[in-house]
């Protein structure tokens, strides 16, 4: 009964979404407000219905309704309560419901925020949002129905994928999807601009905050994904350049490029064509990402594959790309305007360079990801394109981008005079060079590491120089220091929010460099009481304990860790789930600012007399998560509403 209700709700929602899209479009063409109102009501109804779907599916999970196939494959009688809720989006069908729900939520927010302010664009924005909603509802009702029943009803379900029983799993899809679905909004505005021919700056100004919010959630989703990979998967890494990781990274890269190039359009009215293309590309990459994750076309650790769903996504991607790019071609003349640049040494140039590098990186990742397919299509030979390739080709691009992070915010618009360059960059360059010398003297020999540290010094100094100079100016006018700094942050929150984000990225870059360059590991078999040593730490195997949990059987090893002083006991374990043929690793670790101690339990003797352990000392990994926090602060600052000038 409940599943049928859910299915019915989805069908009605699909019909209403289509109805809404059509009426919104008609309302736009004819200018009749009643049609627009009807579309708005349809959007509200769609949201309510999708919420109902979500609630009903959760209910099926909570009541162990194994007659629903999705419930039976993702939960069993032993699944703990909270995982029965989060497991709802743990696999294909449920994840699409989550996506659709967020899309519906964003549509409502768009309605509330923009129905007054954007008269011309708004109806078409609504059309596009409802159209995308309709597509996802189509997938829910036809390609991947979450409420599909099965007979006979099994007595117990299979259970949630054990790797998903983790807080990272709960938050990672939520953040990531908020990012992906959020990128639909700037796309919808861009389409509205193309359709109405109003390709000026209105759509950019209206979507600025949307872009930052979506970009932020995408960043958060990527970082949480890295965190989850690090502390759950047991290989000690946080990013493997797996195709689905790349699928989320590519739109992030182009969204970052977009965030920057809109500033040029805002200031100098240039790059209209480029900005619209970037938005279309970003949304296209988002769809490509869901296609990759769900079609099984490229092998990946993540892909949940299912029959026809890949064809659905590919068809929609084709429709979106051809329509959007076709409209772009139609409006070419209005978009294609003569730009004006005073000098090649200017902020405009820096931003253009930033865009070239980011889009080149996105292209590189894209080409590398689909290359196995290309190789097979062209000559029938299967090849792999993995982490070593992506690391090698992307490092130079990212180094250049870090450099630009320092140059861009400080270099003058239009034309940077020699004086301007000297004033802004002399100190930072000196600091950068000094940092390089300093770390080299400390024994750092990896060229990339030295470069990253030097560039970090350079960029951090540019931020400091700028902030210090501005604060000093205020202090000279009579304001005490701290209020001056606070006032600066608030008054110019866009600029300093951006700085905060840059700072966060810097910290992440240092964390990535440190962990790649200086982490060490070893793997040994220890008898009871024996110890292994690495990087000044000593790990001694004490004992094995076995325990019975609600849905698995766990064998944990007790390892005392010390480095002169005792640091406690770590308990890496192996968890044996009945539905899995092999055990799942449970990593235990001790995080630190400088380094993490990371233990993975390998094989062990039944009687507990010996155990194999992989022992890693991972350097500076925590900086990545700290950088994420700083990035968050920066993003929040950046989207605060503008403070009105005092009269």
């Amino acid at each position: 009964m409940i599943p049928e209700l859910g299915y019915g709700a989805a069908i009605v929602a699909l019909v209403l979404a289509l109805w809404g899209a059509v009426t919104a479009a008609l309302g736009a063409r004819t200018g009749r407000p009643a049609l627009l109102l009807s579309a708005q009501h349809a959007a509200l109804a769609v949201f309510v219905l999708v919420t109902a779907c979500f609630a009903l599916l959760t209910y099926a999970f909570l009541t162990f309704d194994f007659s629903v196939r999705y419930v039976a494959t993702n939960t069993n009688l032993g699944t703990p309560f909270y995982y029965r809720i989060t497991g709802v989006w743990g696999a294909l069908e449920g994840s699409i419901i989550l996506w659709t729900w967020m899309l519906g939520l964003y549509t409502l927010i768009v309605i509330v925020r923009h129905r007054e302010g954007a008269r011309e664009l708004y109806p078409w924005v609504l059309t596009v949002m409802l159209g995308v909603l309709a597509f996802f509802l189509l997938v829910i009702t036809v390609a991947a129905p979450p409420f599909a029943r099965q007979a006979p009803v099994p007595a117990d379900g299979r259970g949630l994928n054990p790797l998903l029983e983790d807080t990272g799993m709960i938050t990672h899809p939520v953040a990531l999807y908020l990012g992906f679905t959020g990128l639909t909004v700037p796309f919808a505005f861009a389409m509205a601009a193309l359709i109405t021919g109003r390709v000026g700056d209105a759509w950019i100004t209206l979507t600025r905050r949307w872009t930052i919010v979506a970009w932020y959630f995408l960043s958060l989703g990527l970082l949480i994904g890295g965190w989850w990979s690090y502390h759950v998967l047991g290989w000690g890494g946080y990013w493997a350049w797996d195709p689905v990781e790349n699928a989320a990274f590519m739109p992030w890269l182009t969204a970052t490029a977009f965030l920057h190039s809109v500033m040029i359009q805002e200031r100098r009215r240039m790059l209209k064509l480029w900005n619209i293309s970037l938005v279309i590309l970003t949304f296209g990459l988002t769809l490509f990402g869901t296609f990759l994750t769900r079609s099984g076309v490229i092998a990946s650790v993540h892909a949940f594959t299912q029959g026809t769903i890949g064809a659905f996504f590919l068809s929609f991607l084709a429709l979106v790309l051809l329509t959007a790019l076709g409209l772009l071609a139609v409006r070419w003349d209005a978009l294609h305007a003569q730009g004006e640049l005073d000098s090649i040494v200017s902020r405009e140039s820096a931003f253009l360079l930033n865009n070239v590098l980011l889009v080149a990186a996105a292209f590189t990742v894209f080409f590398g990801t689909v290359f196995p397919l290309l190789s097979e299509a062209a000559r029938g030979v299967k090849v792999s394109v993995g982490a070593p390739f992506f690391n090698q080709v992307n490092v130079p691009l990212f180094l250049a981008l870090i450099f630009l992070m320092g140059v861009g915010p400080l270099i003058a618009w239009r034309r940077a005079s020699f004086d301007n360059l000297r004033r802004n960059f002399l100190w930072p360059v000196l600091v950068g060079v000094a940092a390089a010398a300093f770390f080299f003297s400390l024994g750092v020999r990896s060229a990339i590491a030295v470069l990253v540290l030097a560039l970090t010094g350079f960029v951090a100094s540019t931020i400091t120089v700028d902030f210090a100079r501005a604060s000093r100016a205020r202090v000279r006018l009579g304001e005490p220091l701290l209020p001056a700094m606070g006032g600066l942050l608030r008054r110019h929150n866009r600029r300093y929010g951006g700085f905060g984000v840059h700072l966060g990225i810097l910290i992440i870059a240092v964390g990535v460099t440190g962990s790649q360059a200086w982490s060490v590991q070893t793997e040994t078999t220890l008898r009871r009481g024996e110890y292994a040593e690495l990087a000044g730490y000593r790990v001694r195997f004490e004992d094995l304990t076995a325990s019975e949990e609600s849905n698995h059987f766990k064998v944990a090893g007790a390892f005392t860790v010390s480095n002169g002083r005792g640091l406690g006991v770590l308990r890496p374990a192996k968890k044996f789930y009945p539905q899995e043929t092999s055990p799942i690793a449970y990593v235990d670790y001790r995080l630190g600012l400088r380094e993490d101690i990371y233990l993975v339990l390998g094989d062990f003797a039944r009687d507990g007399s010996q155990a194999t352990v992989k022992f890693q000392v991972n350097r500076l990994v925590s900086w990545i998560w700290i950088g994420g926090l700083v990035l968050t602060a920066g993003a929040v600052l950046a989207i605060l509403p503008e403070k009105k000038k005092a009269a």
Binding site: S277, G284, F288, F291, S295, G296, V297, I298, A299, G310, A311, L314, L317, A318, L321, L322, L325, G326, L328, A329, W332, V370, P372, L373, L374, E376, A377, K382, T581, S582
Partner: protein
């Protein structure tokens, strides 16, 4: 092409990419073809669970079916074991040898597997995994069909059925041992 027409290259440029992605539906990224087909089979010198020596050399002149399995490989290995046993019994007098290589496994679990499924063909553990890597296996079950002259002629990934086994073995049996 006139200047106006160049702009249509932009939407058209999406087509090759879409076509490539569509091509992806026709291939299975997890199916890796073996480069060993047609090449001499790598030799091995193992000891069966009963303690008897088992080498590929000793089987020269006969058609050899080398099957890689593990006791934790559920359900595929459990499904194909009866097939292998049946084939062994049917073909052993016709010059076919069925050899099982147990990889990444524990001795007691493997022996239980053999006992429970009543396997009478020679089975040996590969404790270091060298034989499995030598044959380029990437999982279980995988089966190699070696002709009388010691060359690998076919590789089958996944559980065997009577029909598949027959399709591979019969032609090899018909070939001379020269």
């Amino acid at each position: 092409m006139s200047r106006r027409a160049w702009r249509w290259l932009i939407p058209l440029s999406a087509l090759p990419v879409l076509a490539l992605l569509a091509y992806g539906f026709r291939v299975d990224p997890r199916e890796i073809p073996s480069p060993l087909i047609g090449r001499p089979a790598p030799g091995f010198a193992l000891t069966t669970f009963e303690g008897a020596p088992l080498t590929l050399e000793a089987q020269r002149g006969r058609v050899v079916v080398v099957n890689f399995w593990a006791s934790w490989c559920y359900p595929a290995c459990y499904e194909e074991a009866p097939v292998l046993e049946r084939s062994w019994r049917a073909y052993r007098d016709r010059g076919v040898v069925v050899v099982g290589v147990d990889i990444q496994d524990k001795a007691e679990a493997a022996q239980k597997f053999i006992r429970d499924l009543g396997l009478s063909f020679p089975n040996a553990p590969d404790p270091t995994g060298k034989v499995s890597v030598d044959y380029g296996t990437y999982g279980v079950p995988e089966t190699f069909f070696i002709d009388r002259r010691g060359r690998i002629r076919a590789k089958h990934v996944g559980a065997l059925t009577d029909e598949v086994l027959r399709t591979h073995v019969e032609p090899l049996l018909a070939e001379p041992a020269g």
